[in-house]
Structures are given as structure tokens and as C-alpha cells.
């Protein structure tokens, strides 16, 4: 349906001004197939138009970005989601990732970076902004050595490998995937696979820190 290299993008945000801004910034580089400003309409339209990537606002009237993910993902797992937010609250961001989003970027991101992130998510990779990398390092705190002593932790899911930790730390420091690859003398593909693996752990792990973040939402 779309020409090669032009991702089909769907925008979900309750601020019309922000949607217009993203449209203008991405311009011809993407094919915006639809917009929605609340959960119900978003679920309906996304299921109908099946875009490649949904840019999803974390804070949305009617249940937040998570509700959209829960409405679409079970029937259309091929639609990828990229969370966008101005919120600093880690529990909100982690909750959206755990509901199935493949990445998180802040709304202050530049147009070029956003386009890059959209391409990456469309290809099924994970997109970690420095902030998300920081949240994850925080959530998976504790080195592998001492954590194995803690009962009930599954090292496959509940711990980051030293390499993954290294990659995340560089991303949190502001390195792009390419710069991370150069620094660690590995390929960009390897960086991507590390990040995807971290995303998987983030979504499947039952570590109490993650659950706590997801449930103990601060009242704003």
C-alpha cells in the first residue's frame, strides 16, 4: 500500500497541536494514515487501518496509552507502538512498555531522530531513549553477582547481562546505537539485539521493582 521506505504512521495524542506538529515535522518522510485523540477511537481506527507504527501518547483520556495497547495488540500483534510522552514519571513509561510498546521517546525529540525511531520500531527493533535506559537501569538495579543470591529471581528474565548493562549505560549517557557499537567494538545489529533482549526482559520480568512501578502510580 505504501511506497517502499515510507512508514505508515498513526498518531494518537489528545493535543491537536502536538499531532499537527508531528505531521509537519515528519512531512513527506512518512505516510500518516490516521489520527485519534482518545482511546476508543484509536483502537477502532488502528484496527481498521493497520498502520506500521503507532505513535502513542502515554497520557491519554480514557485509560492512557496502555488501554490502546490492550485494545489492539491481542488481535493485531503486527502493529508496532512507539510511546511518546512529556511525562517524567517512570511508572507510567514502564507500564506502557510492559503493555507492549516497543520503545519510548520524549516529545522534545528532533524530527530526524523521531523518524529514525519510527523506522527502527517498524522493523521490529526496540527504541530506547536515554531516559528509558535510565529507568531500566534503575528498575534492574543490583549486579548479577549479588542478585542471584536473592531468592525468586530468574536470571534469564529478571537480570540484565553485563553486556546489556553496558549498552544501556552508554545509551543513557546519550550515545546513539552507532556510537555504542563503535565504543564497544560490536556491530549495530548486535547493539539492536541487546536492546531488544532488554525490552523482552522488561516486558516479561516479574521483578517486584517493575510491578511496584506499574501499580504504585503516583497521583498527579
Amino acid at each position: 500500500m505504501s511506497d517502499q521506505g515510507r512508514p505508515r504512521v498513526f498518531l494518537v495524542d489528545d493535543h491537536a497541536m502536538f499531532r499537527a506538529g508531528v505531521r509537519a515535522e515528519l512531512g513527506e518522510a512518512v505516510d500518516v494514515v490516521g489520527e485519534a485523540d482518545e482511546v476508543e477511537a484509536a483502537v477502532e481506527l488502528i484496527s481498521e487501518r493497520l498502520p506500521g507504527v503507532v505513535l502513542l501518547d502515554v497520557h491519554l483520556p480514557g485509560g492512557g496509552g496502555q488501554a490502546v495497547l490492550r485494545g489492539v495488540r491481542p488481535r493485531h500483534p503486527e502493529v508496532h507502538f512507539l510511546a511518546l510522552s512529556v511525562s517524567d514519571a517512570p511508572e507510567d513509561v514502564i507500564a506502557v512498555i510492559r503493555a507492549g510498546a516497543r520503545g519510548y521517546v520524549t516529545k522534545t525529540i528532533s524530527g530526524d531522530e523521531l523518524l529514525q525511531a519510527i523506522r527502527r520500531v517498524e522493523a521490529g527493533d526496540a527504541v530506547f531513549s536515554p531516559r528509558l535506559a535510565g529507568f531500566v537501569l534503575d528498575a534492574f538495579a543490583g549486579s548479577a553477582g549479588e542478585a542471584t543470591l536473592t531468592a525468586g529471581l530468574d536470571p534469564e528474565l529478571d537480570l540484565l547481562s553485563p553486556r546489556e548493562r553496558e549498552v544501556l549505560r552508554l545509551i543513557a549517557r546519550g550515545y546513539t546505537y552507532k556510537e555504542v557499537a563503535r565504543e564497544l567494538i560490536i556491530s549495530v545489529k548486535t547493539v539492536e539485539s541487546h536492546v531488544s533482549s532488554v525490552l523482552r526482559k522488561l516486558q516479561l520480568s516479574t521483578r517486584h521493582e517493575l510491578t511496584r512501578w506499574a501499580t504504585a502510580r503516583r497521583l498527579v
Binding site: 512529556v86 511525562s87 517524567d88 514519571a89 522534545t108 536515554p130 531516559r131 535506559a133 535510565g134 537501569l137 534503575d138 538495579a141 549505560r169 543513557a172 549517557r173 546519550g174 550515545y175 503516583r218 498527579v220
Partner: protein, 389 residues
């Protein structure tokens, strides 16, 4: 009030006061006269009396109508129980209480403040800190009084008469509760909703003040500098940051007195963004309270960040802080023009030295990585003292 009366009658104010005290001691009527006078005689220097305001205070009148029956009931019961010596004092005191209610609600501004600040605390003097013992004591005193009252009833009359009296009293009480109960309830609800409404109004006023001080000011500044995109971005960023710290962290705007690492980093971010018009991305992993060594580390970080803002030419700087078990490490990174560390220009060497010296004093280390065209990354680390681990 005595002042008002003495003005009206021409009698010396001290004499008026002495007269009232004597009247009060003689019979309860003195109290009633005092309160009536308070209600009807204007304050010295004022023309309107409190009564003229009280007649329009519908809620106050309702309050009186609701409270007075309860007092009347108590009075009737006590005289029926043979403790009639209360009678001569009771009625005037009762009416005075009702008038006092109206006075408190309708007193003028200054007088009202005096009542709230000086008189009311006297009534609540026993409230102090509500410890467990004070409530236990209150319950004990109540129980003793109750038992004593029953004893007076039972001992003062033949057994049958006492029971009849008790039954009558209970019936009368029930009747009053049935008639006035809903009224009391609605009154309590009214008072509560009044208090709630006041809290909401205060919160709204606080919010409006904040929005006015920060958001509206910034919007005005943005409009004025619409032709300078860099300035607009800077203003928007700093406003966003301030609002966010207010909404999510509950920190009042302008409070830059950092106590934790995150707060310290946030302060650097705000300051550099405001002073140099660049974007600072900050990520903090872990958290700890600031020690002397960490404050030095933050000073060095500020220096390095300002440096990057001034020299790199990059539009954004990344800050990354990580709290380990043994150390706190900070990275300041830009993607600007960079430099060859082998040939540091004189002025930069000075800054690098000041960064190094600050951190070294607390056993820390500094590493600067850069090459022309690839930006600069400064890594600074300070060990954590054993005691705070």
C-alpha cells in the same frame, strides 16, 4: 462593648465593668445582659450593631434553632431530676450561648479576629496534643459524671419514681432527637461542605497564583521573543521543567536548594538551560543524599556542563549520573566540535584543572575524552564514604 456602653451612658468604663462582674456573681442574669448588650450596642467608634447583621444571617439563626433545643432539653432534665439549683443560672446562660453564637458569626472584621484568635483558643485550651492518655482521661471523667448523675437520680427518689423519671427523660430525649435530628445532621453537613468549599477555593487561588507567576509570565516572554527561536525554546524548556517539578515532585517553583543527587542535577539542568539557551538532557540512575564530596562533584559537573554549552557549539548536552554501591559517577557529553586533548588551549586547561581539583579533593577522578569533530565527554567520579552506603 463596655466601652460602647460607657460612651452611651456617660459612666466610667471601669465602673461599667465592675457592675457587670457583680451582676454575674449575683445571678446568671448578668451574663445575659452582657451578651445582649454586646449584640445590640455598637462597638466604640462604630455605628452598626451586630444584631443588624445577625438578622440576615440565615445559617446562624438555623444554628441557634438547632443547638438551643438541645440545651433546653438538658435544662429541663436537670430541673426534673431535682438539681434545680442550675435553674436560676441555667436559663440566662443558655440564652447567652445562643447570642454568643450569633455574635461570633456576625462580629465585625477586627472583633471577629479577636474572637477567633484570643477567645476560641481559651475554650480549646485543654485540647493540647491529643495523646492517648488525654482521651482515656476524658472517657473516665465522662463515665464518672454519668454514674454520678444516675446515682443522684436514683438516690434522690424512691426506686419506682426514679425509674419513671428516667423513662420520661429518655422519651423526651428521643422526641427531641426525632424532631431535631435531621436538622442537626444537615447542619453538620452544611458546615462540612462549607469547610470543603473553602479548601477548594484556597487551592484554586494557590494554583492561579502559580500559573500567573510562572506560566503566564513565560507565555508573555515567548510572545515578545517570537522572532528568536532559540530564546523561545529556552523559555519553553525552563517553564516545562519548572511546571513538571511542581506537578510531579511537589517542589515549589524557584526552590533550588538541592538535598539529593537528582535535585542537584535538576538544578544544574535548569540553570545551564536558562543561562546558555541550550538543551540539557539529564538521566539519573539511583539516588542518594548529597554529601560534601557529592556537592563538589556537582560543582565540577556544573563547570563541565557550562563548558560544553559555551565551547562545543552543540545544541544539546547529555548528563548522566549513576549511583553505585561504592561511587557516584557523572558523565557530561556533547556532540560539538571537540578538541585534541593533547593540545588543550590555555583557557580550557584552567577549567579542566578546576574540575579536576574539585573532585580530587574528595578522592575522585576525572577523565576527559575528545577528538576534533566528535565532541567531548567528561567522566567524573567520587567514592561514597562508608557511612552513607
Amino acid at each position: 462593648m463596655c466601652g460602647g456602653l460607657s460612651v452611651a451612658t456617660g459612666i466610667d468604663v471601669t465602673l461599667v465593668r465592675i457592675g457587670f462582674v457583680l451582676l454575674t456573681l449575683g445571678s446568671g442574669v448578668g451574663v445575659l445582659v452582657y451578651f445582649l448588650a454586646w449584640l445590640f450596642i455598637p462597638l466604640a467608634g462604630e455605628t452598626a450593631n451586630i444584631f443588624s447583621r445577625a438578622v440576615t444571617d440565615r445559617r446562624g439563626i438555623r444554628l441557634v434553632i438547632a443547638v438551643v433545643p438541645a440545651l433546653v432539653l438538658a435544662q429541663v432534665l436537670s430541673s426534673a431530676a431535682g438539681v434545680g439549683f442550675l435553674g436560676s443560672f441555667g436559663w440566662p446562660v443558655l440564652l447567652s450561648a445562643a447570642i454568643a453564637l450569633l455574635i461570633r458569626r456576625n462580629a465585625g472584621d477586627e472583633e471577629g479576629r479577636w474572637i477567633t484568635e484570643e477567645l476560641v483558643p481559651l475554650v480549646h485550651a485543654g485540647d493540647g496534643p491529643h495523646g492517648r492518655w488525654s482521651s482515656v482521661g476524658r472517657i473516665a471523667v465522662g463515665a464518672i459524671l454519668g454514674v454520678a448523675g444516675l446515682l443522684v437520680l436514683v438516690l434522690g427518689h424512691p426506686t419506682g419514681a426514679a425509674l419513671r423519671l428516667l423513662g420520661g427523660a429518655v422519651l423526651a430525649m428521643a422526641a427531641v432527637i426525632v424532631v431535631f435530628g435531621p436538622w442537626w445532621l444537615s447542619l453538620v453537613r452544611d458546615l462540612m461542605s462549607e469547610r470543603q468549599a473553602r479548601a477548594v477555593a484556597e487551592e484554586r487561588a494557590r494554583m492561579a497564583a502559580h500559573v500567573h507567576d510562572s506560566v503566564l509570565q513565560t507565555l508573555a516572554l515567548i510572545q515578545r521573543s517570537a522572532d528568536d527561536p532559540r530564546q523561545v525554546v529556552r523559555l519553553a524548556r525552563s517553564q516545562e521543567r519548572e511546571l513538571r517539578s511542581w506537578l510531579f515532585e511537589g517542589r515549589p517553583p524557584g526552590a533550588d536548594d538541592a538535598r539529593t543527587l537528582t535535585e542537584g542535577i535538576g538544578a544544574i539542568q535548569r540553570q545551564v538551560e536558562a543561562d546558555h539557551g541550550i538543551t540539557v538532557h539529564a538521566v539519573v540512575v539511583g539516588e542518594c543524599d548529597l554529601t560534601e564530596g557529592l556537592r563538589a562533584l556537582l560543582d565540577a559537573t556544573r563547570e563541565a556542563t557550562v563548558n560544553a554549552a559555551k565551547w562545543s557549539g552543540a545544541a544539546q548536552v547529555s548528563l548522566y549520573a549513576e549511583v553505585d554501591r561504592d561511587a557516584v559517577t557523572l558523565y557530561v557529553r556533547d556532540r560539538g566540535r571537540g578538541f585534541d586533548p593533547g593540545s588543550i588551549p590555555g583557557d580550557r586547561q584552567g577549567i579542566a584543572r578546576s574540575i579536576r581539583a574539585r573532585v580530587a579533593r574528595f578522592g575522585g577522578s576525572v577523565a576527559i575524552r575528545s577528538s576534533p569533530g566528535s565532541g567531548v565527554e567528561v567522566e567524573m567520579s567520587v567514592p561514597r564514604p562508608q557511612s552513607v552506603r
